[in-house]
């Protein structure tokens, strides 16, 4: 069990400047398997930069990200070849975009959207690919009768659920989510959160969720990082940070939630 005791993802001193503009500075944390970390903060606080650094879509100016691959070896992601990184991205990782159109192929059918990762890792049996797609659509509560419709005909909530199915079909161990409930109305948000919470527990997913919505953080995450001006100002257990915030900014953030 010493293997599972090692963290899945380790970030150390991550720093990113866009020219002279600070993206984020000196972010360090580690994430274990099955653990959900929420990154909260206002717009421009460096949340999305951090997520892109973690998922190797951006290269940091300083610091590193290490990840424990499926073979148990922890490696610096900057040392992986592009082919290895791509493979990681379509097998062991998921990335849920705020705008589902970025994460989906809008003009091909839902079934092909879900099946794409399977085909990319070498599945060549149409019936089995389709069968798996049906299962996943069912799991994310999309009417399986709509498997051949392109997501352009789907509502916002359905697109987001389809995006989740597309990401989870290869049973990743780590999912990055950038404002997964952004732009959805409240009842759809609630349903999506419920679904996500169920899937995360059921599959033992580790996740990094970027959000400005503290309710999302409270529902889904075990731990919270509060970011401001590109730096992490508070980091702790979710209930601890939300119920007993230490930093003035965190207090402000928590007190900005409208009373129910």
């Amino acid at each position: 069990m010493s293997e599972t005791a090692a963290p899945l993802l380790i970030a150390e001193g991550l720093t990113k400047y866009y020219g002279r503009q600070l993206g984020c500075r000196d972010v360090s944390f580690s994430l274990h398997e099955g653990e959900v970390l929420a990154v909260v903060g206002e717009s421009g606080s460096g949340k999305t930069t951090l997520l892109q650094l973690l998922s190797t879509q951006l290269a940091p100016n300083a610091g590193y990200v290490r990840y424990r691959l499926r073979d148990g070896v922890t490696r610096d992601l900057a040392d992986l070849s592009e082919a290895e990184r791509r493979f990681l991205f379509r097998t062991d990782w998921g990335y849920v975009h705020q705008d589902a159109a970025l994460g989906l192929r809008m003009s091909v059918s839902a079934g092909a959207n879900v099946g794409e990762r399977l085909m990319a890792v070498g599945w060549r049996h149409y019936g089995r690919i389709r069968g798996t797609a049906v299962q996943w659509l069912d799991r994310v509560e999309i009417d399986t009768g709509r498997i051949d419709d392109p997501p352009i005909t789907y509502s916002g909530g359905m697109r987001q659920r389809l995006q989740i199915a597309r990401n989870l079909v290869t049973q990743p161990r780590l999912v990055f989510m950038d404002e997964p409930t952004g732009g959805l109305d409240v009842s759809v948000q609630a349903r999506l959160l419920d679904l996500l919470r169920g899937l995360v527990t059921e599959l033992g997913l580790a996740a990094v969720i970027v959000t400005h919505d503290l309710a999302v953080a409270r529902l889904l995450s075990h731990r919270i990082m509060v970011m401001k001006g590109g730096e992490v100002i508070e980091h702790g257990l979710t209930d601890q940070v939300l119920d007993d915030p230490r930093e003035p900014y965190s207090q402000l953030l928590v007190s900005s939630i409208l009373p129910a």
């Binding site: 592009e82 079934g111 990319a120 060549r124 051949d148």
Partner: protein
């Protein structure tokens, strides 16, 4: 203008050398699209400017040239390109497949099996098989580099989901030598099996898109498919109305306005040879 004012085969020698280098590179990496500095040709894009440049740079004075357009030797594109080289290079031309040393083709592979002594030059409109799935050239190049071809199967999946079978009938994607996925130009998929282990060298030129690629002789060419929906070369289940062949690719010819139609071999030379043989027999 006097024909002697042209350099041999229209292009200047430096241009031909440049194109030959691209061709050699293409042969060295089967299925890989080699960029080249495509020239303006005295014909519009879409009329075979890529194929003509490839032919011009491999043509020698002793070559015998055949040009086909949709299988036929007698349609506009074939006639004009054949005349173009007859005028600018003075080479002998033919319509008879076994006599030709270079065959430039738009979308068909002759029915007569090709030999080691022949070169088949394809005119290609869109060389990138992933183009309609991924519009970014930077991204498609990266996908080729990393052999990241899952997307190609997404297209085939879509076909089956929509039509119940793989409905792509031309420009059917192939994997060359176990590595590069290639668009075999808009040849009907009936011709795909002929590309596999073909004795002749196959060259592909795309003038507007400035790409050359190649299949060296006796290279493995596999049409992509699913295990439970295997590749099937398709043809109209009829016989040729002129020569009676039941194993060739057929064109449909409307003969009147009362629904009359005739199916004939698309390969006009092959059809004529068969009819000639019948007469003498």
């Amino acid at each position: 203008m006097n024909a002697s004012a042209y350099n041999f085969a229209y292009l200047d020698e430096q241009t031909k050398r440049m194109i030959r280098r691209a061709i050699l590179k293409a042969i060295a990496i089967p299925g890989y699209q080699v960029p080249f500095a495509s020239r303006e040709m005295p014909m519009p894009y879409g009329w075979g400017t890529g194929g003509v440049q490839v032919t011009a740079s491999i043509l020698g004075p002793d070559d015998v040239l055949k040009v086909i357009d949709q299988g036929s030797d007698d349609t506009t594109n074939a006639v004009s390109i054949r005349k173009f080289f007859a005028k600018t290079a003075g080479v002998r031309t033919t319509t008879h497949t076994p006599e030709a040393s270079i065959i430039q083709t738009r979308h068909r592979i002759p029915e007569t099996p090709l030999t080691e002594d022949q070169v088949l030059v394809f005119q290609v409109p869109i060389p990138e098989p992933l183009r309609f799935l991924e519009p970014r050239e930077t991204e498609t190049r990266r996908m080729h580099a990393l052999a990241d071809y899952g997307l190609m199967h997404v297209k085939l999946y879509e076909d089956i989901a929509r039509h119940g079978h793989i409905a792509t009938t031309y420009a059917y994607p192939v994997k060359v030598d176990g590595r590069y996925v290639m668009d075999p130009s808009p040849t009907p998929k009936f011709d795909n099996p002929k590309m596999d282990d073909c004795a002749a060298l196959q060259l592909f030129g795309a003038g507007r898109e400035k790409r050359i690629y190649a299949i060296p002789p006796h290279t493995k060419v596999v049409s992509l498919d699913f295990e439970d929906h295997p590749f099937e070369p398709s043809r109209t289940p009829k016989t040729c109305g002129l020569c009676g062949a039941d194993d060739t690719y057929l064109d449909e010819v409307v003969t009147d306005d009362k629904g009359g139609r005739l199916f004939v071999c698309s390969d006009s030379d092959y059809c004529e040879q068969r009819r000639g043989a019948e007469k003498t027999a």
